[in-house]
Symmetry: C2
């Protein structure tokens, strides 16, 4: 598995292009990403990018995966040792904070449909969703929350996700310039939802 010098340089250039693209997305939003501008700032000709990626879509796809990883790193910083409910609340808050601090990245990350198409398919490991799902399952096992009839850990996780995702999206669109103590309100909202599960 050792790499030739050429392979190394190739990967390095790939990452340079991705970094420039990521920077431009942060500045202008992913819908406005221009390959010509990426080339300009990475000191390549527009044509050179096609040495490293087969299309613009390809670049966006790779980036969105990297952004998912960034989110995961942050969520992993929430101590697993916390009481189950407290842990879930904090995971939600990290999610929202990431969205608000990185609007463009967050939107790109969510623009691509998940590969999983139904509950029957396996949950992809090492994803933010999986992390929350585990936390919810733990809270069920410890008895901190109970499942409504016919509802399983996945459905609860999805609902929580909807709540924090909605809070995030509203902050980036409708409530872009709205002033309020969202940290507090969102925290109460998550706690309220969990309380509804006894």
């Amino acid at each position: 598995m050792t790499q030739s010098p050429r392979q190394k340089r190739h990967e390095k250039s790939q990452q340079v292009i991705l970094d420039v693209a990521a920077k431009l997305i942060v500045e202008n939003g992913y819908e406005n990403l221009s390959l010509r501008e990426v080339a300009r700032q990475a000191d390549y000709s527009p044509a050179a990018l096609y040495e490293y990626f087969k299309s613009k879509e390809d670049i966006l796809f790779v980036l969105s995966e990297q952004i998912g990883d960034q989110m995961l790193v942050l969520m992993n910083e929430v101590p697993a040792s916390l009481p189950p409910l407290e842990r879930i609340v904090q995971l939600g808050q990290v999610y929202i904070r990431f969205a608000v601090s990185n609007p463009s990245k967050f939107q790109l990350m969510n623009s691509l449909p998940s590969k999983r198409k139904s509950l029957d398919e396996p949950v992809s490991a090492n994803s933010p969703y999986k992390l929350v799902l585990n936390a919810v399952s733990a809270a069920i096992k410890s008895g901190d929350i109970k499942r409504p009839k016919g509802i399983h850990a996945e459905e609860i996780t999805y609902s929580l996700w909807a709540l924090i995702h909605g809070a995030s999206m509203l902050r980036l669109t409708n409530l872009r310039d709205f002033q309020a103590d969202f940290e507090k309100i969102d925290q109460v909202a998550i706690k309220t939802f969990l309380k509804g599960l006894e």
Copy 2:
């Protein structure tokens, strides 16, 4: 306040343009709306549109207001006579259903920031938000839900909004092709949240 024939024709043409634009947005999403295509389908030259609207942005703004009105009509169909909690649940479901059936309209409606910038400013009358706020206030008054300390009707309404908005957005992005009984799950989610308020 009577209108000259010229004014009437003017308004009629305006609405024709808006209708074509709305149709194209439904087909292609509002980000991809092309004035030239609007002109083509409305049988005008591109230049003619500027007789009726001063810019593309202007057209999108007017459309997004009309879409808000459409949402409001649907939500008003939920009987005011329903038990308070049941009414809130149904309002949420109508919201989500509208989003899922009209993805492009829904996204346009939410792309523009609200004019209200803080809780101190008055809530705009005749908006979907106001409708839910009233329903929540009624549920508080009737004792069906209680306010956590420091939390008022507006914060509860916002949290509910986040929940149903998140459910909507996930259906349009990440979970675009995901198969599940979302009607049921979303209903339980809203009920769970309300249950958390006792």
